[in-house]
């Protein structure tokens, strides 16, 4: 019976201490995805990430931008998760050069803005007041 006691039975509160020196994916409120090794944190969940890359996802493709050391202010983090180093090598996505992904990202953003503009116009014509333009994931 002792073998079935899970290792995390006594969790009382969230702690990042188990994530230190692990490779994490951090999502910021502005939608950025940063992948780096967590080196330290504090009571506000301010993070220190080392060897960080910013990964941009568009469709089934992604591109990486190396960024170095980040000190992230905790309130700007939406979520973070540990990266499975084995599964990381078998992504169903294809990696493309940075210039290409940045282009694709800009096109996607312009397309989204066009759709939003059209949607807002249609709603406005129907009598709805639309003033919602939130780019914060919070």
């Amino acid at each position: 019976m002792d073998n079935f006691i899970p290792g995390q039975i006594f969790t009382t509160s969230a702690s990042l201490v188990d994530s230190v020196d692990r490779k994490l994916l951090v999502v910021l409120r502005d939608g950025r995805k940063l992948i780096g090794v967590l080196r330290s944190f504090d009571q506000f969940a301010n993070l220190v990430l080392q060897d960080t890359i910013e990964r941009i996802y568009v469709g089934d493709a992604y591109g990486d931008i190396p960024r170095g050391i980040f000190i992230i202010r905790g309130e700007n983090v939406v979520l973070l998760g540990e990266i499975d180093l084995d599964k990381e090598d078998e992504l169903p996505l294809r990696q493309v050069p940075v210039e290409e992904i940045l282009l694709a990202q800009r096109e996607e953003m312009e397309a989204r803005q066009k759709r939003e503009k059209l949607k807002n116009k249609l709603l406005h014509d129907q009598g709805f007041s639309v003033d919602f333009t939130e780019t914060d994931l919070y």
Binding site: D30, R39, F41, N46, G68, F70, R73, N76
Partner: protein, 115 residues
């Protein structure tokens, strides 16, 4: 080492600060405090769109406006040396009267209760 201690160690070094509104400030860190307020010198301020630039000889950034900071990789090396130096200073300074009587009490307690 705590994030704010790392920031303190980075004083004098160049860094990039991005604010919540997307503006970036590239400059040398002069000083920082517990609220992440910063003073930078020789600063290049960039607009959120990346199209306009300003040069400021010095600037003050209120900590709660910051999204993140990027520091040079050399900081990690300095941090290791700094934390070693801090630990030596702390253990040296701890041999005060109050600390010693607490230490006596604790070692006797350990002996008594075989902790």
């Amino acid at each position: 080492m705590l994030p704010l201690s790392l920031l303190n160690t980075a004083q004098g070094h160049p860094m990039l600060v991005e604010l919540k509104n997307g503006e970036t400030f590239n400059g040398h860190l002069v000083n920082c405090d517990n609220w992440m307020n910063l003073t930078l010198r020789e600063v290049i301020q960039t607009s959120p769109e990346g199209d306009r630039f300003w040069r400021l000889p010095e600037c003050y950034i209120r900590g709660n406006t910051i999204k993140y900071l990027r520091v040079p990789d050399e900081i990690m090396e300095m941090v290791k040396e700094d934390s070693i130096r801090q630990r030596q200073a702390a253990s040296g300074g701890n041999r005060g009267r109050k600390w010693f009587s607490w230490w006596k009490y604790w070692s006797r307690r350990k002996q008594r209760w075989k902790l």
